[in-house]
Symmetry: C2
Subunit: 293 residues, 2 copies
Amino acid sequence: MIVDTLIEKIAEKQNPACVGLDTSFSYLPETMQRAYAEEKAAGVLEFNKNIIDAVCDAVPAVKVQIAYYEPLGAAGLSAFAATCRYAKERGLIVIADAKRGDIGATAAQYAEAFLGEGELSADFLTVNGYLGTDGIAPFMEACKQNDRGIFVLVKTSNPSSGELQDLKLADGRTVYERMGDMAEAWGDGSCGRYGYSRVGAVVGATYPEEGRRLRARLPRTFFLIPGYGAQGGNAAMLKGCFAAGGMGGIVNNSRGILCAYQKRGGTYFEAARAAALSMREELLSVLGEICAK
Amino acid sequence: MIVDTLIEKIAEKQNPACVGLDTSFSYLPETMQRAYAEEKAAGVLEFNKNIIDAVCDAVPAVKVQIAYYEPLGAAGLSAFAATCRYAKERGLIVIADAKRGDIGATAAQYAEAFLGEGELSADFLTVNGYLGTDGIAPFMEACKQNDRGIFVLVKTSNPSSGELQDLKLADGRTVYERMGDMAEAWGDGSCGRYGYSRVGAVVGATYPEEGRRLRARLPRTFFLIPGYGAQGGNAAMLKGCFAAGGMGGIVNNSRGILCAYQKRGGTYFEAARAAALSMREELLSVLGEICAK
């Protein structure tokens, strides 16, 4: 079961961190940008492969943000697909960060694209639950059929996430709590051996108090935690997103890893590896040893 | 200004209807499916071009639903791009229905992809506002810079849209009213000569009462109205989404046009044209003459 596999990889590597391949062409070293000026998607793919090679023994997963590939059109989508494939070949769990969401018939198409057997296939997909249960059901069907998982946007890491998500409902809950409750319910009956279901939640590292509340509220929901590093989140802030034994979440870092060479010097892939290892240390210093149980 | 152009095309053609190119390969006539079995994306593109040729003098716009192209991978995305390009060449306004939404830096990438000058470029893009203002700002910048528009998901047409969208907030508004208010505010300062801004709203034909309330509440917000036909919406139900003079909205129909040949007989493109013309008649019988003013 894919959530169990993710948890076991996190425990095996003692690292609840995920490298975000939000690879803007502008992140590439200048020499690479010059070399690939006429074939940007190929440059992005080459960069990603070298990052993957450098970090694949240190991290359990990558999150590939499709938005950075779509401006390059069909060639960009091919680079996205090849990146996902290569990461899987190197033993990594692949999270497609595409935040898809639509009415049932249309969601079924997205599910086929990202949670099926096609070119864009990944292990997990981020989804937007604004449309409610019938927009999520096709993703759940694909999850059960093909052993995949989803992460529902609950409390996002960006500064204005509260405008809608923090609003109080008449029943006393906030909108993000209600969305979290829906995610927890959508996961019903799909729990693996560690007690987490196929339906996870996106919970930003930048909102520690909300993270703590959601962790207590949603015991079966695994968290994908963005916002670490460039967005201002750190290990102490996201501790509350985790349950006992450092379980229940995976923390994403994109620019802090991809662009580490700009601060650390050295090659971009060596710098990425060093950044991934420091992040691991920072997380473990707060979470302690991670136990899959 | 693109919203003015859309309105003028609606008035010129006396048709506030939009053909939804949600082209599943399974919608193609069997002979076409056999001919294109090994190159599905090419089959979808050929089908779309024939539909566009058949309807381009009768409708002002097409809505291209990217979810139906993504399962075909990079070739599918090329077919999506070529469809958008061809529709523009034939004088149609192109709405990319992709429901994108993410944090600011990432939304900027989506904006570049769909509202920039690249391969996937369209006149309008549907977006999801769950992340709040900083997730929408990059789209607005692209809209102003490149003369484009967006439609924010407000009240969607699907059966379970109310699970989140209809919830009452502590201040007495519903979630969808609050989202509508945000859309109206995001449009501030971008109104064209007919009083509608670059920020529209998606409002399902299947919820007449909510549509009526939103029309009164959001005077500067142009509506994209899905849910007509296969989803159960009809002209009488969506009348309340329109202001005086049949202004303020455009109604989408996808399967009812693309698959019209299955009910009407004849070629798929002749049947599509006939279905588009009947839909026009049905809408005008309820809305009366459409006046751009």
